[in-house]
């Protein structure tokens, strides 16, 4: 990362999950797909929903909400799967709704307060993003807190290593 950081040098995709807004680095995103019931796998943790066929590749689909400790997502019309690249592996994350793509500067990312216990934090940091549409009240734009996810920490094999 270069030392000179200007506004908007990182693009993030924001999405909602259990009424929270999360973000991942746009660089890791391969594609966004519609939800399609994956083939369930035996003897895997419940947050691994199964595997799906992504252009001939067998890619696991992860219930991101469960993975992060929230209530499992309910499947609805806007449910979709973010296919991301983590290291040399691909994975699909089930999310409730994709919201936006925003540009942020690295200096805007605040470290997440260290409140999680047990597992290393899956949150890279917090960032405040201005709402693109004005609130219905027309009041001042307070923006919105986005939880930026640490994809490397979400790696499935990493979880395996930790479990071992």
């Amino acid at each position: 990362m270069s030392s000179i950081e200007k506004h908007g040098d990182r693009k993030i995709v924001t999405f909602s999950l259990s009424h929270q807004t999360f973000g991942i680095d746009m660089q890791s995103l391969i594609e966004i797909r519609e939800w399609e019931e994956p083939t369930p796998l035996p003897t895997v943790p419940p947050f691994i929903k199964g595997v799906t066929n992504l252009r001939g590749n067998v890619v696991p689909v992860i219930g991101l909400a469960e993975r992060l400790g929230w209530e499992p997502s309910k499947i609805h019309a806007r449910s979709c799967v973010l296919v991301v690249q983590i290291g040399d592996k691909q994975a699909g994350f089930l999310v409730d709704e994709v919201s936006d793509i925003v540009a942020i500067g690295d200096q805007e990312i605040q470290p997440a307060p260290d409140v999680e216990i047990g597992e290393p934090s899956l949150i890279l940091g917090l960032v405040r993003v201005a709402s693109r549409t004005k609130d219905a009240s027309g009041a001042e734009d307070k923006g919105q807190m986005v939880l930026l996810l640490d994809l490397d920490a979400l790696s499935l094999t990493r979880h395996l290593d930790l479990a071992a």
């Binding site: 083939t39 001939g56 696991p60």
Partner: protein, 698 residues
Amino acid sequence: MDDIQAIFFEECAEGLAIAEQGLSAMQDGDVSAETIAGVFRAVHSIKGGAGAFGHAELTKFAHYFENVLDEVRAGRIAPTAGVTRVMLSAFDVLTDHVAFARGIAPAPADAAAIAALEAVLRDRGAESEDSPATVAIEEPAAAPVDDDPFGFEPVGVVLDDLDAPAIEEAPAAWTIVFAPSRGAMANGAEPMLVVREVEMMGGRIESVDISSLPSLRDMDPEQGYFSWTLSLPGTVTEESITECFDFVAPDSKVEISRAASVEQRPEVAPVSTEAPPSAPRLSLVETPPEDVAVKTVERAPEPAAQNIRVDLVKLDLLLNLVGELVIRNSILADRLSPADQQRVELPELARLTRQIQDNVMSLRAQPIRQAFSRVPRMLRDLASETGKQVTLETIGETTEVDKGVIEKIGDPLTHLIRNAVDHGIETPEQRIAAGKPPQGTIRLSAEQKGARIFVRVSDDGKGIDRARVRAKAVERGIIAADVQMTDEEIDQLICAPGFSTAESISNISGRGVGMDVVRSNVEALGGRVEIASTPGEGTSFTMVLPLTLAILDGMIVRLAGQRFVLPLANVTETVQPAPGQVKRTSPTTEVIDMRGQYFPVKRATDIFELHGAERPIEDSLVVIVESESAGHVGLVVDTIDDRREVVIKSLDQNLYPIRGLGGATILGDGSIALILDIEALVASPGSTSRFALKGMAA
């Protein structure tokens, strides 16, 4: 550069395989011109490439070897059994040199081999001094020197004649005439650098010919007009000299000669007269266009086989894409109305797609000879280490197998051969005492049966000593002392981890890892090892391997409604159980009565904790599978949907391996079905040693 280097080593491996095959053929009495020329070409190519990459040791040794081969090829040395033997051991050293150049082995001791090669050359001098050197030139089939992928001009023939005897004599000083072509500098060559390089090796400029230098007005500063006469001490090797001139412009004249070599070596004269008139003495690189033409005529017709190198990754990508094409094809077919499906285009498209798939698959197939090629050498080493006499018979080496399989059976094959020599074949004395010929035979065979390849290593040795194997297994705690075992079960014990019957640990086998490794390697490939042994008559090990790693012949079954693929190779039969045929032996275990034999029954739904509607056993099917670890086991499935070949996709590419699953595949409708791993399914969970388990269970 590393890439090119890698290609060079690949070619070395191929060259060595060709040379070995040729030499083995010569050993068996085939001394035809093509065979000898083939060996020569292979060694020559290795030398050429090694020179280009600066592997001095390899170049040097290959050069000695090539000298002898050249003489044999020219008919000046008869390819007697003795000569062939020397060449075979030289070949072994050459193999080691290649390994050294790759940095995967220490530098071999080649003094003895060089001495032997020199002796062969010397004897030729004594016996057949008069043999006309022109034979080499007049026999077109014998001079196909241009197999050099690096594009070096194949003029080594003359050079070698010069160099060979010189090794034995006190080295005379070198004289080099170097005349760069007019256009050399325009082509980016810099003659001055070449001259400096010669000087660095101790060379001296004797004279510079400036006669072609025009008047200053006509002179073009970008053209070369000078020619140099250089001298070098005789101790400098010819390779290092030729190396200096590797990168001169194509039309440049370079003549390298030993001082007074014409007087000392009259037999060179006939060769020289065949050389281009512009180089009345000995030429190294003399390449005016007409000269090339002459040489082309001399060359033997190249073998017609045309090959291109393709990265395996590209092939696999192609294979994946074709697999996708097949799937899309059937999805399309499903979506069309029945009337449209009947039209000719769709079946035609399906047929074409299938053909493309078959062809792409066949691209990965290679003759198994590649895996067999290193066996003869190994046997020679083993025979000399153990003092046993062994002959090798090879059958079916043209059988084609997936490249991935070939790469992975190398190690198991090595272990099996070592085992056969070390534990199977007896010493000559023992063999004579047993009424057998002193020479043992190892038969290496490959054949294809259906979708499986059978690679068998059999020996006519003493067979497996079952009493000793059993005693050892008890001693090692692998089995309990009072276990009843069949002969086959005892034979299988030698594949158990940590089992070795070697009385003392030799450096050949006996570390107690060999057979264990064979077994696990073969199983990792989706194959199995069969052992058959008759005391006093010999043992045979058969590796039963899948034809390809990418395709599996499978049965599509349903477990709790979900589709799974059961590898057909494991399936022996399928039954719909009659009432009472499946009985409980405990609250959690069941057996099935198969014509009076009781096989344990496992419910895959339990193993995988799948929750579907409970089906009465009579509505289910029981697939009897055969496993290495647990013998016959009945697996309860809901239904059988289909039988088809599926493309195996690994799960750990994007996830991690899951116990009980061998991978996944994409079905015709684009959905994924998981492939069951029978061995892992039937083995009791948590068992670390299946042999211990088996012993206790019996």
